[in-house]
Symmetry: C2
Subunit: 424 residues, 2 copies
């Protein structure tokens, strides 16, 4: 590793929760920090489903990376897609240039996994970035528009059927939000169809929803979903996704909109690094989050496989990534200062939250468990608090307050079809 | 014309200011009102340039048509593209169906005109809908990203040069907003370039800016633009637009971003109707805004050529369209009630407003003329007041207040390239 000093180059790949936390925590380190991302914004991913269901606008939950780091003197931002990493020469390869590093933080996140059926992606898109979300929003709203114009009853039912695959927090929140959008917010908007008659089906292959939550909370979330009119199917795996609908074993469900929230796969970081990884593609890291044999390379967030004291892999959630990012900054800070290395990384589990629609949530703080309206309030406060940027906080708070009071959906726009060019 | 009565079918094509005003003003008419638009949202077009320059989010200035009309019992909304109108059979042809009418209101607006150089559209896009605006936003922000990564000085200058073609209100507001975005809001965000060194050039072929405003106000707007660092070129027409830049006669300006605000052409309404039209494609209408020989067909807004008492064509602005829409509703209301027809349409000119950046505007109320910060305040109030929907008003007010205080730009996202598919 190069001598620590003002010319020490730290490269952070990925400006999600992990990468950005690492970068900002290095603000006072005597080093240059280069943040590389292929998008120009940091995304508050836990609320992405709200953009897909027209509750929030993209700008409410995304902030330009340059803006976040504009006052951090030792940081610069590069917009670009990483094509590979040369660990011997210590350079990150972008399309048209190579960036040398003395220390590297790989925080490239995860993408969707279809268990070997990548062809399903076209019919059952997942939600990872703003473009995914606006596309899904367009798909949901367009399905109802087509139902309104459709004269064949079966085709109409298909357009009015929405399937969410995966019963984790993402799937639960998505199913609840679709139900509210379709059955409540849009209830009066159509003339030929009654959107309240739409079917929203949440499919989970495992025996219960929200596997990482307390059992009682998971059951309460199921009841709340059912109250919103969501059909919850447990113990049923999707065996096929296609244009016309999905198959659950023998059963066929005709639907025009399927949302994938069932599984993720780490980014190609393991391939770039030639590193050991688990079946989900996560890089196996040492106790200090470095790549074994490469003390200058850290892998964090969804791209890394980190185990807790009980040997269980930490989940792919924001709090894990943020704590890992801060930890890496501490390790690098200690090295740059010539101080002793901090003890191995240990995740502090503050708990988990999930919401079902506009006045029910479950909060599992481990030491206390909340459900219902009070949990929804806790959930709202927590999310608003953690959103980056004061402006966003205010805007989200207002959007929510307004949506809560009126059931209106301000962001209900069908925009930017790839197929949709030119004016009338 | 069919007998007036509860089965009387009024079809409104286009949900811009004119069409929507006509539709809502017909709320109590004993008739069915069908509003057809190819987009699902009504757009507050006067603020579209704010979306293109990252000051506002799309949802701040657009509202779903269904939402606006959801409580209007006699109205329904059809999403679809009109392919033609059969005036003999009295049907509007959509892609897959035909809608019969007893009375028809054509309010299809305008699109950009390139004076016979339609090939320029690819290099100098105009601004008519949300997708145009988000594309332009991406183009502006991406140009600076590329300048940041560029090592060749000439190429860097090209990426940092922005040309706005057309010195009417749209061009003036756009040039001011680009200057503020680039020179102020983004000033601290880059490391390799200084965005404040960007060139913003406003080109107007005529002898002055804002031709429909008072001469003194136009001169004040020019000075305000120059203070923001905009180069204003009067009496110079663009003679070529291409990938590398624009030509003004002999002079070549290398630029990566060109915005077209120079001319519009009415929608194909005249062709659909086989109607007489002027060079800009506007349908020549009678004093009651009907198509001569077709008392059941009205043409309003940017699609129509309506002259004032002095014989001058009314401008293509929101207030004209709105007054025409309301007038048509009055005419139809009188007919349905068997009452006397109202006198011919007369435009009430309340004046015009244009803004230059965040604290200068010109307001020409005809009887009083304002400029500077006070005019900006009037301009803000007027626009917030006229925005459809209370929620939007609040959100826009807050966004502006925040932008005004901090120069931050919340909506500074590069999203949804057509070329930009899939995640990292």
């Amino acid at each position: 590793m190069a001598q620590p000093g003002p010319s020490f180059q730290i490269v952070v790949v990925g400006a999600g929760f992990g990468g950005l936390c690492a970068a900002t925590a290095l603000a006072r380190a005597p080093a240059h920090v280069t943040v590389i991302d292929e998008r120009n914004y940091h995304l508050f991913q836990p609320l992405l489903y709200q953009v897909a269901t027209a509750g929030l606008s993209p700008a409410d939950i995304a902030a330009p990376i340059r803006g976040i780091l504009s006052r951090q003197r030792n940081a610069r931002v590069l917009l670009g897609r990483v094509l590979g990493i040369d660990t011997a020469r210590r350079v990150v390869a972008l399309r048209d240039r190579a960036i040398a590093y003395d220390a590297l933080v790989v925080a490239t996140g995860a993408r969707h996994a279809y268990f070997g059926h990548e062809e399903w992606a076209a019919f059952a898109p997942g939600l990872k970035n703003i473009d995914d979300a606006t596309k899904l929003r367009r798909k949901i709203l367009t399905a109802l528009e087509r139902a309104e114009q459709e004269t064949d009853a079966a085709a109409q039912r298909r357009f009015m059927t929405f399937v969410v695959v995966g019963g984790g927090a993402t799937g639960v929140e998505m199913a609840g939000a679709i139900a509210e959008l379709v059955k409540v917010a849009l209830a009066r908007d159509f003339r030929a169809i009654n959107p309240a008659m739409s079917r929203i089906i949440l499919v989970e292959a495992g025996p219960r929803l929200l596997p990482s939550f307390d059992q009682g909370l998971a059951a309460a979330a199921k009841t709340a979903l059912e109250k919103l009119g969501v059909e919850v199917r447990l113990g049923q795996g999707v065996t096929r996704c296609e244009e016309s609908g999905v198959a659950l074993g023998e059963e066929r469900i005709a639907c025009a909109t399927t949302v994938w929230a069932a599984g993720v796969m780490a980014s190609p970081a393991a391939q770039w690094l030639g590193a050991e990884h688990d079946r989900a593609g996560r890089v196996v890291v040492a106790g200090d989050l470095t790549l074994p044999g490469h003390p200058e390379i850290f892998v964090i967030g969804d791209a890394a496989l980190v185990r807790n004291a009980a040997g269980k892999a930490l989940p792919g959630i924001a709090t894990v990534a943020k704590q890992e990012g801060k930890y890496v900054a501490r390790v690098l800070g200690a090295r740059l200062a010539g101080a002793e290395a901090p003890p191995p990384f240990r995740y502090r589990d503050y708990g988990e939250l999930a919401t079902v629609g506009r006045n029910f949530a479950v909060v599992d703080f481990r030491w206390i468990k909340l459900r219902g309206r009070i949990a929804w309030f806790v959930w709202s406060c927590a999310h608003i608090y953690f959103l980056i940027g004061f402006r966003n906080r205010l805007a989200v708070a207002m959007d929510w307050l307004w949506a809560y009071l009126t059931f209106q959906r301000g962001a209900r726009l069908i925009t930017a079809g790839d197929e949709d060019e030119g004016g009338r």
